[in-house]
């Protein structure tokens, strides 16, 4: 009995675990945005207003009041913004449920390492949260209405997950930041009106605008639309992209055929030719016919072969353009440097220091793609159309 008594006393006195806080004294941050302001940062935090999330009465949440609340604070460093934030909050800030961390593009151009330092020191932060780049002011994105989700941060998280095949979370971002010869990428978002031509009752939402590519920790550029698709295809990270192909032989009619890429793989092979590095980028992908606006019979194997070649050309173009953009902005997001490092270790030692600045923008990249059409959809023939015979010449 004495031993038990002593051990209980020891447990109470030595544990030092008096950090009890009730769940309703905690302000859960679901997302935060960092903007630049004169001489420091403005950190905007989206806090889940759990009281509005449907309590005992189990309402739907359509009660009008939002289930989230946005606060911002200014500070010279990220940590001091947090301190300042706490001063006007009745609940203790809690970061472990933060899903997204949004950095404005202008701030990101100056480098993200100073922003992330305090995040990695503070154990509540999770490496599974997503870094994103906002086009324009980051705090604006957090105030989009995003009517489908409980909070805008939730929607942004879903977008971040959909941007690439393997979602780029903090861990992956920092991993490529720390690896020699790879530059990180992050999804870029912006706030847009939910329905562009609607006058009344206009709501705002968030759009996945492109992929932000970095040069080390500094934002190099944001690749949009086809450049973003090309980059993701080159990385093998595109999530079922649709490739629009003009019908071979009928380019003038602007009749398009859309192929949905269901599986894609990319391989980067560096080559050392006469002391110069060259890159072979080969892509293998499987596609389904998603839309056929032409009159051709998609079951015709000869025509399908033509279509595959046309798609290959298209993919090659996309990727070549994206690579050219990367080279222009000196951002090695595809990890060419890493591939060289792995293949030609000794050569890399000489290249390493001038790789980003002079070597990478110069290297010759050969893109080869192989598209394989597997499935032409459930329809045997296009609806209500007479199929054309293939002209022997084309």
């Amino acid at each position: 009995m004495k031993k038990i008594g002593i051990s209980i006393v020891c447990l109470v006195l030595l544990a030092g675990c008096w950090d009890r806080k009730e769940i309703n004294d905690v302000a859960f941050i679901v997302g935060s945005a960092i903007d630049m302001e004169d001489g420091g940062y403005r950190s905007t935090m989206q806090i889940a207003a759990v009281g509005q999330m449907g309590g005992p009465q189990g309402g739907g949440g359509s009660s009008g009041s939002k289930a989230w609340h946005v606060e911002s604070a200014f500070g010279r460093t990220i940590h001091t913004t947090r301190e300042a934030e706490q001063k006007h909050l009745s609940r203790i800030l809690h970061f472990s449920h933060r899903r997204v961390l949004i950095v404005s593009d202008s701030l990101a151009r100056q480098g993200v390492i100073p922003l992330f330092d305090s995040i990695f020191r503070f154990p509540q932060n999770r490496l599974s949260s997503f870094p994103l780049i906002a086009m324009g002011e980051a705090k604006e994105v957090l105030t989009a209405e995003a009517p489908l989700e409980r909070t805008p941060a939730e929607m942004i998280r879903e977008l971040a997950q959909m941007a690439t095949l393997e979602p780029i979370n903090m861990r992956i971002f920092v991993y490529s930041l720390l690896t020699e010869g790879i530059d990180p990428i992050a999804p870029a978002i912006r706030k847009i009106p939910a329905a562009a031509n609607l006058k009344k009752d206009q709501k705002t939402t968030v759009e996945l605008a492109g992929i932000a590519v970095f040069k080390h920790d500094k934002l190099a550029t944001i690749l949009e639309d086809r450049l973003a698709t090309g980059l993701l295809l080159a990385m093998g990270q595109a999530r079922n992209p649709a490739i629009e192909v003009m019908v071979p032989g009928e380019e003038r009619n602007r009749r398009a055929i859309v192929l949905q890429i269901s599986k894609s793989e990319s391989q980067i092979r560096p080559k050392l030719k006469n002391g110069r590095i060259e890159m072979d980028l080969s892509l293998t992908m499987t596609a389904n016919l998603a839309e056929n606006t032409s009159d051709y019979d998609s079951t015709d194997y000869r025509w399908r072969a033509l279509l595959e070649r046309a798609a290959e050309q298209r993919v090659t173009r996309l990727v070549e353009d994206a690579v050219a953009a990367l080279q222009k902005h000196k951002s090695d997001a595809l990890g060419f440097g890493d591939a060289v490092h792995r293949r030609y270790r000794s050569h890399w030692a000489r290249l390493r220091d001038r790789w980003e600045e002079s070597e990478f923008p110069q290297i010759k990249v050969t893109v080869k793609s192989d598209v394989n059409m597997e499935n032409d959809g459930a329809l045997i023939r296009s609806l209500d159309r007479k199929s054309k015979e293939l002209k022997p010449s084309s």
């Binding site: 038990i4 051990s7 447990l11 109470v12 544990a15 675990c17 950090d19 009890r20 806080k21 009730e22 769940i23 309703n24 905690v26 859960f28 679901v30 889940a48 759990v50 009281g51 999330m53 449907g54 309590g55 005992p56 009465q57 809690h94 472990s96 449920h97 899903r99 509540q124 999770r126 409980r150």
Partner: protein
């Protein structure tokens, strides 16, 4: 000790009937249920029949003892020892003897024998026509099973031993009797299977039972508290059952059974912790479902023990442990609650325990209404009134259900009790506290013994052979050995080999 000497007379019978009767009447002063029947025999001899009303089989007494006695009285006249003649050849009752010591006569009377005294005879004829009405063998109410024998032990120890003998037709089933209780003189039998049970354990049980000094034993629980190894442990160290089949299974595994007169619950030991998680139906249904149910029970044991503590720990310390949507739901539900999570959980837990206690007391008819009222109405309105949050109600009711999956009620009580210190620890130290509580409990369990056998036998100390009946229930044909603590004769099957169904020569394939 002094009042005992005053109550039980010393000395022997004398020749005069009147004096003998007077002595006995003095002993049984103010005992209205003791009947003194004065008789005059055909040859004029006076006699007296004494018995306690309700304890004897009156029809058998009058047909087989009283009538032959009266009719044969002519033959007794010049007999030197009429009592002996009566008991040995004239009375047609199954058991009869003669006594001269008053103490013996009194104790026979209280046990339900009739006593015949005759004038000019210093011996009493004891006619053992024990009877009286007692509950007959009925269905088990506390250990219900779908498949398996339905009968249960009764209050009558003789019926209980018979129920055991029906199942175990072997002279190896030994029953050693002992008398416990100065006033109640309760018969206690220690039953075991010779050559299977460990003799040392049998001796230990007998010694401990014989050492008991108490005025009365009304239930086997009295005996349990006297003979268990660790009286200060919250864990049960003996198992009780009211099912003869369970008792027989205990005997077959080499355990010792203690039957106590006046209660349908027999004790058995030594036991292990694992055994308390097994139900008799595990062995009666096919082993697939036996295994699945066993795993279900083990997992719900953890729920019953830890769920409220984990709820408190997670919501007050480790909000980061939960998925985001869940943490928001819990936070939303707790938004309007004025109490900390511990108080909230305690309110619900304690009212649930009160509800359970009230349910036992209440008459069956109202009982159901009250439990519905309590569970549904109070739960619902407490949530609506914002006194407790809905997650707590879920946690508490899940815990309540989980504690009913534990097949042995005495272990379920222990788990119910241990939940509260764990909740306190969780509210002070979070998961760290829960882990500390678990460590203490496990240390305690490791040191615990049941009649000298370690409580966690099979796991700690590890016994490979016992694994077939701890977390899993191996098919019967694969359980060729008895548990390791029945030290002798561990082979359950002939030659200890596996014998599976079908024709053993062609490997179980039917022609």
């Amino acid at each position: 000790m002094s009042n005992k000497e005053a109550a039980i007379p010393t000395g022997k019978l004398v020749l005069e009937l009147d004096r003998n009767v007077q002595t006995l009447q003095d002993v049984f002063t103010d005992c209205a249920d003791v009947i003194f029947r004065q008789l005059t025999l055909v040859n004029g001899t006076k006699a007296c029949l004494i018995y306690i009303g309700g304890l004897v089989e009156t029809k058998e007494l009058s047909d087989n003892a009283l009538r032959p006695f009266i009719e044969a009285s002519t033959a007794l006249g010049d007999e030197s020892s009429p009592a002996k003649l009566l008991s040995e050849s004239l009375l047609s009752v199954p058991s009869s003897t003669t006594f001269t010591r008053l103490a013996d006569i009194v104790s026979e009377l209280t046990e339900g024998s009739a006593v015949l005294l005759m004038d000019q005879c210093a011996e009493a004829v004891i006619v053992r026509v024990k009877g009286g009405s007692r509950r007959s063998v009925e269905q088990s109410t506390t250990e219900v099973s779908i498949r398996g024998p339905k009968e249960a032990f009764t209050e009558d120890i003789q019926k209980n031993t018979a129920l055991l003998r029906f199942k175990m037709k072997t002279p190896q089933l030994k029953m050693v009797s002992a008398l416990v209780g100065e006033q109640t003189k309760t018969t206690v039998y220690v039953a075991y299977l010779k050559d299977v049970a460990d003799e040392q354990i049998v001796q230990k049980v007998l010694e401990r039972i014989r050492a008991i000094q108490i005025d009365g034993v009304l239930e086997s629980g009295y005996i349990e508290e006297f003979i268990e190894d660790h009286p200060f442990s919250p864990f049960p160290q003996l198992q009780y059952t009211e099912r003869p089949d369970t008792a027989a299974a205990m005997l077959l595994e080499g355990r010792v059974i203690v039957l106590v007169d006046g209660t349908p619950f027999v004790l058995s030991g030594p036991i292990t912790f694992w055994q308390l998680m097994h139900s008799s139906e595990d062995y009666y249904e096919r082993y697939f479902i036996g295994n699945l149910l066993r795993w279900l029970r083990y997992s719900f044991l953890f729920v019953a023990l830890y769920l409220p503590a984990l709820y408190i720990a997670v919501t007050t310390f480790h909000q980061d442990m939960l998925p985001t949507s869940l943490v928001f739901s819990i936070a939303a539900a707790r938004e309007a609650i004025p109490f900390p999570a511990l108080i909230e959980a305690l309110i619900m837990e304690i009212s649930f325990e009160a509800l359970r206690e009230a349910g036992i007391r209440l008459p069956k008819v109202i009982g159901q209404a009250v439990s519905i009222l309590g569970a549904l109405v109070i739960g619902q309105s407490a949530v609506e009134a914002g006194i407790v949050s809905a997650p707590v109600v879920i946690v508490v009711s899940l815990t309540g259900i989980a504690s009913f999956t534990i097949p042995r009620f005495n272990l379920a009580i222990t788990v119910r009790m241990l939940r509260f210190p764990l909740m306190l620890l969780a509210s002070m130290f979070g998961v760290y506290g829960v882990v500390m509580g678990t460590v203490w409990t496990v240390i305690h369990l490791c040191g615990l013994t049941s009649l000298g056998v370690p409580y966690l036998t099979g796991v700690a100390p590890f016994r490979k052979g016992d694994q077939k009946d701890i977390l899993i229930r191996a098919p019967w044909w694969a359980m060729s050995r008895r548990p390791s603590f029945s030290s002798r004769n561990r082979n359950r099957m002939k030659n200890g080999r596996l014998s599976q169904g079908g024709d053993s020569k062609d490997g179980g394939k039917s022609p």
